[in-house]
């Protein structure tokens, strides 16, 4: 249900809601932990924050909701002293502040857990937590490591964390890493915690755990601001929600007074379909099958431990799992970026285990990589040059070594138009496009390869609702055309709604392959955390995280 005036766009000032909102509590600004007032932040060519107001009450969880590029991160970076706003005031604890650097913000009791974790991988957890705030002994001549350990233990006890301070960060899972980030902020005495998309990489159980932590923190009087573009999270965990769109604030609401549909509409500015429906389709021959695939890392640890799978034409096989459970390596083995240490991979009946990546591309395997910045695009190249990525030797665009750039350009322009890449400029560098548009371009390039198999990893990661919808539609369309699809995603609703069959991967093995329609999200979450169907926990509570 919708508040009056909330369904429309900009015009309706945030004043109403904020006023209403604050009226429910103390009424004046005195108990506001954070008050951002008329913040404007510009980047060359973009206004990332346009006169944004934000009021966060002490001891509450405040969600910041918005599509990709809405300006959420930027706004928080302003609060954290990373950016200097062109206009506006930052008021913390009733006092107007100018933060020149994160140091100032930290000193004012603000801690920020970034979207991409700010951890030094080869350092230990303790070293990371204390970084920049190390207590010293012997007149500053040495780091007081005992004291760090003691302080960390105290914090863990107080907030119910379970981490091993001596472990190296790169060896622990993302769930633990996130707790490290929170501990880092608490360690330096933060009263106001900013969490930027904290749930993007967590299992539903871990997300629940995080909610508990947040509650614990607010009970202790801490203030939380957390950024998300997931509607459920905002409504579930927050005491108040501020929505940003195109750098502008479109109002603050209380979760109990709004609906998902309404929030979605505010975020996007139009009505959106929240779920794609996959209707059953006739499946054909097996296109891809793997047998006993084993992948080891440099140290000889098994990352993929004997996986068998089949994907048929016209079928979407979904693989769900928490990041880091071997799905990336499995996909790399299938697509030819890595040779499996054991096992065979068959494609359209042929054994392709030893095939090069190029040969696999040429035989019609399309691949949407997990990391678009590293793999999917050559960032400093323009879109024309990126349009031929992977096809640079194919007969379509080259004649024995020479690339037909005119043909490539035509193809690229077609892609841009079909997949609605914005701005539609084929000569712009890939790095100048936003994440969502980059993703659309990659998806288009791979889909238009005329593939017989599509391997799609996190095809909509970091992509906003509108683009997600489009990508899902195209994926279903391909399936209808008889293409085999292997879909890897950590977004449960995505794998669940798109897949015909669903496999859950945990520590390099399939826990279960099921019909996605008969399993609940909770069950799925349990499997992702390593629980075999019908049995109890196979491992301790943190098993899914430390590897």
């Amino acid at each position: 249900m919708s508040e009056p005036g909330m369904g429309t766009t900009d015009g309706m000032g945030p004043t109403t809601e904020v006023g209403e909102h604050t009226a429910e509590t103390k009424g004046t600004g005195s108990d506001l932990a954070v008050h951002l007032d008329g913040i404007t932040k510009r980047f060359p060519g973009v206004v990332a924050n346009d006169d944004v107001d934000l009021r966060v009450e002490r001891g509450t969880v405040h969600a910041l909701l918005g599509e990709n590029g809405a300006g959420k991160t930027t706004l928080m970076n302003v609060l954290y002293g990373l950016y200097e706003p062109e206009e506006g005031r930052v008021v913390v604890d009733g006092e107007e502040r100018t933060f020149d650097s994160p140091r100032d913000a930290i000193d004012a009791g603000i801690g920020m857990i970034h979207q991409h974790f700010m951890l030094v991988d080869p350092m230990t957890i303790a070293e990371n937590i204390a970084l920049g705030n190390e207590p010293t002994k012997w007149f500053g001549m040495a780091v007081d490591r005992d004291r760090i350990d003691r302080d960390i233990r105290d914090l863990c006890d107080r907030y119910g964390f379970d981490v091993d301070p001596g472990a190296t960060v790169e060896d622990v899972g993302v769930g633990v890493q996130q707790r490290v980030e929170i501990l880092k902020a608490l360690f330096r005495g933060a009263d106001i915690l900013i969490l930027d998309e904290p749930t993007a990489v967590l299992t539903p159980q871990e997300v629940e755990g995080l909610y508990d932590v947040l509650e614990e923190l607010t009970d202790q009087g801490k203030t939380i601001i957390f950024i998300t573009h997931k509607l459920d999270e905002a409504t579930h965990a927050a005491d108040a929600i501020t929505v940003l769109r195109d750098g502008k604030s479109v109002g603050t609401v209380r979760p109990e007074r709004t609906s998902r549909e309404d929030l979605a509409e505010r975020m996007v500015g139009r009505e959106v379909l929240l779920e794609a429906e996959s209707e059953p389709v006739e499946t054909g021959d097996v296109v891809l099958s793997t047998q006993d695939v084993v992948v080891e890392d440099a140290r000889g640890v098994e990352l993929v431990s004997g996986i068998d799978l089949d994907v048929r034409a016209g079928e979407i096989l979904g693989i769900a799992g928490v990041d880091g459970n071997g799905q990336a390596e499995l996909v790399e083995a299938i697509t030819g970026l890595r040779t499996p240490d054991e096992g065979t991979i068959a494609y359209e009946g042929a054994d392709i285990t030893e095939w090069s990546r190029r040969r696999r591309i040429e035989s019609g395997m399309a691949y949407i990589p997990e990391d678009r910045h590293e793999r999917g695009l050559v960032m400093p190249f323009d879109l024309v040059e990126n349009g031929v990525l992977g096809s640079q030797r194919s007969a379509r665009f080259s004649d024995g070594g020479r690339i037909d750039w005119t043909g490539v350009r035509d193809h690229t322009e077609e892609l841009i138009e079909t997949y609605d890449v914005r701005p539609p400029n084929a000569d712009a560098d890939a790095q100048s496009f936003s994440g969502g548009n980059q993703q659309k371009f990659i998806v288009g390039r791979e889909f238009e390869r005329d593939p017989s198999l599509v391997v799609a990893t996190h095809p909509t990661r970091g992509v906003d609702i509108g683009s997600t919808e489009f990508i899902h539609d195209r994926l279903l369309e391909l399936r209808r055309e008889g293409v085999a699809v292997l879909l890897v995603s950590s977004k449960l609703d995505e794998v669940q709604s798109l897949s015909d069959r669903l496999a859950v991967i945990y520590e390099g093995e399939f826990i279960d392959v099921t019909d996605p329609d008969t399993i609940t999200e909770e069950e799925l979450g349990l499997r992702m955390a390593g629980h075999q169907p019908g049995t109890d926990a196979v491992d301790g509570p943190n098993a899914g995280e430390s590897r």
Partner: protein, 347 residues
């Protein structure tokens, strides 16, 4: 095969101190079994390599690859010599002029390091290219200046440091005479290596240096100014390289030769290889420098002992060793952000 090497290497990396100590023990064993002249030569020749390597570790750990370190060795050794030449024998303000020379050598090296730091940090120059430029400039500047002062690319001779004998300790068998009855620059090297290790491993500055090279953004958001850390680390590399160059000049060379590759003759590049082999461990770098210096002085021993291998071929032994070791122990993991600029607020 490769995997095994890599595993060995990782195990070694996991216990750096033990590895360094193990290396040291092996070294001492060698020392016990080899002629004294080889040992003293090794220690002396190790000075510029070890100190430059430790300097290089700080710069690179902080994310600034300093391949101009050869240039720093050149300018510091040259200016140390010329300072002593100008000051003459004797003392100034109660300090021997040799020590003033050392100080001036270090200062000049720090100035060059500062230029390098500004160019790389402030103006975001490509570090490899800027380092190369610093080397080329030094390679030209030292003989250029020498010609103006002496009319020749080579300087006059100056006095050298005398041995300093530590009472009692020098009586220790096997290596007492080596480590405690030697020249100041050798002490500087030994103490420098220890200090470098301590600074890097035990102080908060050391942690910040590591963080700045691995994930500068993490350090920045933890409230530490990455630029300051990088400046400090590069300047520190100037200090260490300066100590190495000036110590080498005033302890061993006694004169600066400016023709060809100058008296430094590629030792700065060997230093880079050394710290890569040592996987950025200062004590490991010390041991590694013994390896290279030892191979060098072994040539002399082999030749004088009359083993008639072609000289030119023997001279390539250290270089071949570097390649061999690189191949066998595999790639050193560069700090993640080494070579990258960092600007606060960049996404």
């Amino acid at each position: 095969m490769r995997k095994r090497f890599r595993r060995t290497r990782e195990t070694l990396a996991r216990y750096p101190l033990a590895t360094a100590l193990g290396g040291l023990v092996i070294c001492l064993l060698f020392l016990w079994l080899t002629p004294a002249s080889w040992q003293t030569s090794t220690l002396r020749l190790a000075v510029p390599i070890a100190l430059a390597a430790i300097g290089g570790i700080f710069a690179e750990k902080s994310g600034v690859i300093n391949i101009g370190i050869e240039g720093l060795l050149i300018v510091s050794s040259f200016s140390a010599i010329i300072a002593v030449y100008w000051l003459g024998n004797g003392t100034t303000l109660g300090l021997s002029n040799l020590w003033w020379g050392l100080l001036i050598g270090v200062l000049v090296s720090v100035v060059f390091a500062l230029i390098f730091a500004i160019v790389c940090i402030e103006f975001e120059a490509d570090q490899i290219i800027a380092g190369l430029a610093i080397w080329l400039i030094s390679l030209g500047l030292a003989p250029f200046a020498s010609r103006i002062v002496f009319g020749s690319p080579n300087t006059a001779n100056v006095a050298l440091f005398d041995d300093v004998t530590v009472p009692v300790l020098s009586e220790i068998p096997i290596f007492g005479y080596l480590l405690f009855d030697t020249e100041p620059q050798v002490y500087i090297m030994l103490v420098g290596a220890l200090a470098g290790w301590y600074l890097l491993a035990r102080t908060n500055f050391g942690r910040w240096v590591v963080a700045s090279g691995e994930n500068p953004k993490a350090l920045d958001t933890a409230g530490v100014d990455v630029r300051k850390i990088r400046y400090a680390a590069v300047l520190l590399s100037g200090v260490f390289a300066g100590l190495g160059g000036a110590g080498f000049a005033l302890g061993t060379l006694g004169t600066f030769t400016g023709t060809g590759d100058t008296a430094i003759n590629g030792r700065g590049f060997i230093a880079i290889a050394t710290y890569l082999l040592a996987n950025y461990h200062p004590l490991g770098a010390l041991v590694g420098s013994f390896l290279f210096a030892g191979l060098n002085s072994m040539q002399d021993t082999l030749q004088t002992a009359g083993y008639g291998l072609p000289t030119e071929l023997i001279r390539t032994i250290p270089h071949m060793t570097v390649i061999l070791v690189l191949v066998l122990v595999g790639r050193t993991r560069l700090p993640d952000a080494a070579g990258d600029h960092y600007e606060s607020g960049e996404d």
